[in-house]
């Protein structure tokens, strides 16, 4: 009889190991990666069933579902990483319908050669984010692609939630006269990520605003069930979100530049890079369209929540056949806040 302990498998060397193709091949190496890394970190009753799917109880109410793919460079940035970002992003997309998010699914595409230590950091960060938000990751999948065919790690998360009865929040419900409310400062996430890019790397203590907004949304929906529209201004920033809602609702909008909160460091970084904070991404902010009569009540509730402390009334919905979003500049003029054309590129001089 050999001296090998029955059932013993040498654990993954997380500290020095790297992802290789066998981790996606469906064999023992993959089972081990799933067991030791993902299942251990996300630990919950559904994953413990060890099935290819999670069997869930039927929730009461209308179900919403949303999915979001996450690619970010660098993977780790001040204030967060791709892991917590992928949890917050989908929770927020679900919550923008006014829903309570219930469960998440996560898909990973790993690049051969990716350090296991980094993967562990990312998975731990996801697990923490999911736990803090009270939204478990109940099922998932992993694939490995050859070196050079990915960018370290891509994560897709899908979320399911339920909308409370009586709530009807949709991007096509903005009406002339409604007020536009923003939950806090803009541009923090985009500029924090940019400050870490290899070619830029500027010194700043700016951190990403990545955060799950469903708690804030629940408080808002409870106080003002008549909320018309909610959206989180991620890619493309506030300007893009307002344009989306304006065209969906076939209305115009006018916002006040002076009313839009921007951190000083964000303003400064945008200034020297020639960028406009209105187009820079956020990961923990939302825009709410609300009937004028409810605006004060909504602001009060938002400001009482830690993620809405700097909530501000930034403008109003107007009647406009062209669906333009316009801004009264701090300088006293007026201009269009247009859709972004392509990527925001720095100007030359």
């Amino acid at each position: 009889m050999s001296g090998v302990r029955a059932g013993y498998v040498r654990p993954l060397d997380i500290r020095h190991g790297r992802v290789d193709l066998s981790h996606g091949a469906g064999g023992r190496a993959m089972a081990q990666l799933v067991e030791q890394l993902f299942a251990a970190a996300f630990a919950n009753e559904w994953l413990a069933q060890r099935n290819d799917q999670a069997l869930l109880p039927r929730p009461e109410g209308r179900i919403v579902m949303s999915t979001d793919c996450h690619v970010v460079s660098p993977l780790f940035f001040p204030g967060g990483d791709i892991g917590c970002l992928s949890v917050h992003g989908t929770i927020n997309d679900v919550a923008m319908s006014g829903a309570q998010p219930l469960w998440l699914a996560a898909g990973f595409i790993l690049e051969e050669g990716f350090p296991l230590a980094d993967l562990q950091r990312i998975v731990d960060s996801m697990a923490r984010a999911a736990r803090d938000a009270g939204v478990p990751i109940v099922t998932g999948d992993t694939k490995v692609v050859e070196k050079g065919k990915g960018d370290g790690v891509f994560i897709t998360t899908t979320g399911v939630g339920v909308v409370p009865a009586g709530v009807a929040i949709s991007g096509d419900r903005a009406r002339p006269g409604d007020r536009i409310v923003l939950s806090g400062t803009i541009g923090d996430h985009g500029m924090a990520v940019m400050s870490e890019r290899e070619s830029l790397a500027f010194g700043t203590d700016l951190v990403s605003d990545t955060a799950p907004l469903h708690g804030l949304v629940a408080a808002m929906v409870e106080a003002v069930p008549g909320l018309r529209a909610l959206r989180d201004p991620t890619r493309g920033g506030l300007a893009t979100t307002l344009n989306e809602i304006a065209s969906q609702s076939a209305v115009g909008m006018t916002i006040d530049e002076a009313a839009v909160p921007v951190e000083r460091q964000v303003e400064a970084a945008c200034e020297f890079l020639g960028l406009d904070p209105l187009y820079v991404a956020n990961e923990g902010k939302l825009v709410a369209i609300v009937p004028a009569a409810d605006a004060d009540r909504l602001l009060e509730v938002m400001r009482a929540h830690p993620l809405g402390r700097r909530a501000a009334l930034i403008g109003e919905v107007t009647e406009d056949a062209h669906h333009f979003v316009q801004m009264r500049t701090r300088f006293g003029g007026k201009r269009i806040v247009d859709w972004l054309a392509g990527d925001q590129l720095p100007r030359i001089c």
Partner: protein, 382 residues
């Protein structure tokens, strides 16, 4: 933000606006050209036009670096990337400029060309150091502002004896372009482009100083006020121009004294003349061939000149027939006079170069000002 907010103060703006309105004679017109794209951008972004009386009309000049870069020169860079496997590095704005065969540097990248966006020529040199087995070409563009950094990086490459780095030089000169506009038949003989004064460049003038403009003021009897790129700078410069025109003066005045002197930055000028020499002639998109309007790399630094290194020949390529960029760049036409503006030609798929950069007259007008032309349905409760 300190040193920035002071120059964007709405209250002060109202004060200057009131002075302009009080002093501008409603019976005459003040046609003022802001040469620089930086001014065009500031005017559009802050809605400066809203604060001006009808008698004052701003004409956007050709000072947008990517707008005046001719198609043939971008074609050279695209061919280097696609046919010769060269890493082409350039400023972000440059990458979307439409060139021949429905390509741009960004589209060339999508077709497998190695095109990289950099924030400074020094980054291009770093790419060369990191890829010793590859040729790296920096597509250098811009006016006098961006020329010294290019000169510096060429000197640095020479000092470090870098063998895989070169520069495709497209640096152009502001005074030559202003002369070209003033000498154009529209201004001189036909009078179809009334020009009463210039807002002089901000950053360019920090390098070349205010002296080069004295010639225009004297020879063409046009007042010039050099102004910073902040909206209050622009407002103040407009007021100063209105006063000069009212007084019948044509002088060079400097609103931007916090950065511009009469002689400019002598050190930068010496650096530039060490590395570059005048080209006899250079094509500008919109203006055509302009004599002594651009720089080339001197023989002594010939090893770093991509034109010599790859034996490049520039072919002149005509703009799309419907595109009015040429006339718009010279201030003869307004973006709304162009048939393709806002329909076929948009910031998403620019036909002409004025639609590419937010400094370009068309893109600035499209993105920030086109609502002025279309009546907004009133009735929204405030």
């Amino acid at each position: 933000m300190k040193y920035i907010d002071e120059f964007r103060d709405g209250e002060l703006a109202l004060g200057i606006a009131a002075a302009i309105a009080a002093e501008a004679d409603p019976g005459r017109s003040y046609n003022l050209m802001e040469f620089c794209g930086g001014h065009t951008h500031a005017i559009s972004r802050y809605g400066v036009t809203d604060l001006l009386p009808p008698a004052v009309r701003m004409i956007h000049g050709p000072g947008c670096p990517v707008c005046v870069l001719p198609i043939g020169r971008i074609d050279l860079a695209i061919r280097l990337a696609l046919d010769q496997g060269v890493i082409v590095a350039s400023y972000g704005d440059c990458l979307r400029v439409p060139a021949s065969d429905n390509l741009s540097l960004l589209k060339a990248k999508a077709r497998g060309g190695d095109v990289r966006m950099v924030y400074s020529p020094a980054d291009a040199l770093k790419i060369a150091a990191a890829n010793p087995e590859r040729e790296v070409v920096f597509l250098a563009i811009g006016f006098e502002t961006t020329t010294p950094p290019t000169a510096l990086v060429i000197k640095e490459a020479a000092r470090a004896e870098v063998t895989n780095f070169s520069v495709l030089c497209n640096h152009v000169l502001t005074p030559a372009a202003i002369t070209n506009i003033l000498e154009s038949p529209e201004v001189r003989r036909l009078g179809t482009l009334p020009l009463d004064g210039f807002i002089g460049p901000a950053h360019v003038s920090t390098v070349i100083g205010s002296r080069p403009y004295e010639f225009f003021a004297e020879e063409y009897a046009k007042p010039v006020v050099i102004a910073g790129f902040e909206p209050l700078d622009v407002m103040q410069a407009i007021l100063m121009l209105v006063r000069q025109i009212n007084d019948g003066r044509a002088e060079v005045e400097n609103e931007f004294t916090r950065a511009v002197t009469r002689d400019g930055n002598l050190k930068a000028q010496a650096l530039v003349s060490d590395v570059f020499e005048l080209r006899r002639s250079f094509e500008w998109r919109g203006l055509g061939m302009v004599p002594y309007s651009a720089l080339r790399i001197r023989e002594a630094y010939g090893a770093f000149d991509a034109e010599r290194r790859f034996r490049l020949e520039t072919r002149s390529v005509a703009d799309n027939k419907a595109c009015e960029c040429g006339a718009i760049l010279r201030g003869v036409k307004h973006p709304r006079d162009c048939k393709v503006f806002g329909t076929v030609c948009t910031p998403e798929s620019p036909i002409g170069s004025c639609m590419v950069s937010s400094e370009g007259a068309c893109a600035a007008y499209y993105s920030y000002g086109r609502f002025r032309e279309i009546p907004i349905v009133a009735g929204a409760p405030a």
